[in-house]
């Protein structure tokens, strides 16, 4: 089970949890399961998020692997100038 | 809008054009003569991108009327290299990476040439103040100043 860290203001979209455990092995599975289990986060996920997996910020790559011991943090979508 | 017929010399060549009397020299160069090396950044004399020499004096071509060029000589960036040989300033700008986006570069080069014609051995402060009217947003000016000082040195050595 991967531990997904939920930050600050996103917590109330996840019933107040700061960590949720999910049986997922890549980013795509994560992005599908999160809104299924926590429907309140669906609009945020649909709007676009970045997910940090083991310190690397991933914007889109669905097949980025998530291992059981991976650090996963859901973040607002990163942009740049 | 009335037009005026103008005979002038641009980069050593006799040129004739008819321009609206309210057209700036910059507009004439760019829109009528296709000399787009001279750039427009503000249209109000605040950025120096349109710098040219008029009878040997550095001016903003956006603040000169096209009709005012009658009987005078205009020198632009297009005339800076001697056919296929770059001017020392141009060479030094490339060697010192004194340009990033390059939009200010023609104006800076024309202004720097004008400085070195008057003062072949300027101090860093003199270069900075002379070029204060040439805005550059990319470089922070550091490499531009170094390139001008280097070019001045090389040109002095070539003269000696």
């Amino acid at each position: 089970m991967a531990k997904i860290q939920i930050f600050g203001s996103l917590r109330d979209l996840f019933s107040g949890h700061d960590v949720v455990e999910l049986d997922v092995s890549n980013l795509r599975q994560l992005l599908i399961k999160l809104p299924q289990l926590y429907p309140e986060c669906a609009p945020e996920i649909a709007e676009g998020v970045s997910v940090s997996i083991d310190g690397k910020i991933i914007n889109d790559a669905w097949f980025t692997p998530i291992r059981p011991d991976s650090e996963v943090v859901v973040l607002p979508r990163i942009v740049g100038g | 809008m009335s037009h005026s017929h103008v005979s002038t010399t641009i980069n050593g060549q006799a040129v004739q054009y008819a321009c609206p009397t309210d057209a700036s020299l910059l507009e004439v160069l760019r829109d009528q003569l296709g000399m787009t090396g001279t750039k427009e950044g503000c249209g109000s004399g605040d950025c120096g991108a349109c710098s040219v020499s008029l009878d040997g004096r550095l001016v903003c071509s956006c603040l000169v009327l096209g009709v005012e060029a009658q009987g005078r000589t205009v020198d632009t960036i297009e005339g800076m290299a001697d056919k296929n040989k770059l001017h020392t300033l141009q060479t030094k700008f490339l060697e010192h990476a004194a340009l990033q986006c390059g939009i200010c570069t023609p104006g800076v080069l024309v202004a720097a040439r004008s400085l070195l014609e008057k003062n072949p051995d300027p101090t860093e402060q003199e270069v900075r103040y002379w070029l204060a009217g040439n805005l550059c947003r990319c470089t922070g000016y550091d490499k531009i100043i170094r390139a001008v000082l280097e070019a001045a040195k090389t040109m002095r050595e070539e003269q000696a």
Partner: protein
């Protein structure tokens, strides 16, 4: 718009008089071209004075300097004698815009544009400069200080032009200075400007002085109290402090995007004091 470039002042003035619409003079063009581009003015006639011989040169004789109305700032700075005798006038005009603008901008334009912040004007007023004004009825001499009447307003008629300026002869141990305050080192409009023109006697006592502020009122402000503090003094600390106080008191600035009224009032004194120090050291040199 029609453009003409007459070779005499008489022809220029005649053209102004003959025009039914909006006729304007073109000297350096650094103000009017900006306004043309921004559609703030749409003149019917533009009269270029740069081909008028009387407008083109700087001359010096026993009665002082004559500066042609079309002489650009850069030419003032290149004139060694003028720079030596009237450094304040040269440096005032030398602060207008960039090197590029210096190649075009004239004292005449700076004066007649009548910006409260004109850098060329305070030192001209402090010098007691006069303008040779040509009109349909001939020529008259007008003190520079009588020309600006308000922001954008001047006392010349629409059919008159300035042909040249005269600077009076200079007693020994005289000099002037102009300093302005801007937020950068270049390329700004003055937030405060101050010109000081003074003469010392052999003992170093100030015998004549004029202190003029710019950008702190609708037009330049001549601060007589500051001049009085200098005259009779050795331009010592007490006199300088009095100049500073008098100038801060005399300034009547507004708050705008370039500075607050409080800041300008305070800085007017600081800058005037610094100008007095520079003028004094030049007069001693």
């Amino acid at each position: 718009m029609q453009y003409i470039a007459p070779t005499t002042s008489a022809a220029a003035v005649a053209a102004l008089a003959a025009c039914n619409g909006d006729a304007r003079l073109l000297a350096g063009g650094t103000d009017i071209l900006v306004r043309l581009q921004a559609d703030l003015v749409e003149p019917d006639l533009l009269v270029d004075i740069k081909h008028i011989v009387a407008c083109q040169h700087i001359t010096e004789d026993a009665s002082g300097f004559i500066i042609g109305a079309a002489v650009p700032s850069a030419q003032l700075g290149e004139h060694a004698r003028l720079s030596q005798v009237w450094p304040g006038i040269v440096e005032g005009m030398g602060l207008v815009g960039s090197t590029q603008v210096q190649g075009r901008a004239t004292l005449t334009g700076n004066l007649c544009n009548a910006s409260p912040a004109a850098d060329g004007v305070p030192a001209m007023v402090a010098a007691g400069a006069t303008a040779c004004v040509v009109g349909p009825n001939g020529t008259r001499q007008l003190a520079v200080e009588d020309i600006p009447t308000g922001p954008g307003q001047i006392s010349l008629a629409n059919n008159e032009m300035i042909e040249s300026f005269s600077l009076p002869p200079r007693p020994p141990r005289s000099s002037d200075a102009y300093i302005r305050f801007i937020p950068r080192t270049e390329m700004d409009i003055a937030v405060v400007g101050a010109a000081v023109n003074l003469t010392l006697d052999e003992t170093g006592t100030c015998t004549a002085a004029c202190v003029v502020l710019g950008a702190v009122g609708p037009t330049f402000i001549t601060v007589n109290a500051a001049a009085e503090a200098l005259i009779g003094s050795q331009v010592d600390e007490a006199a300088l402090q009095a100049v500073q106080n008098a100038c801060s008191t005399a300034a009547t600035p507004i708050s705008d995007k370039r500075g607050t009224a409080e800041f300008r009032k305070h800085t007017a004194g600081v800058i005037a004091r610094r100008a007095a120090i520079v003028a004094h050291s030049r007069a001693l040199a």
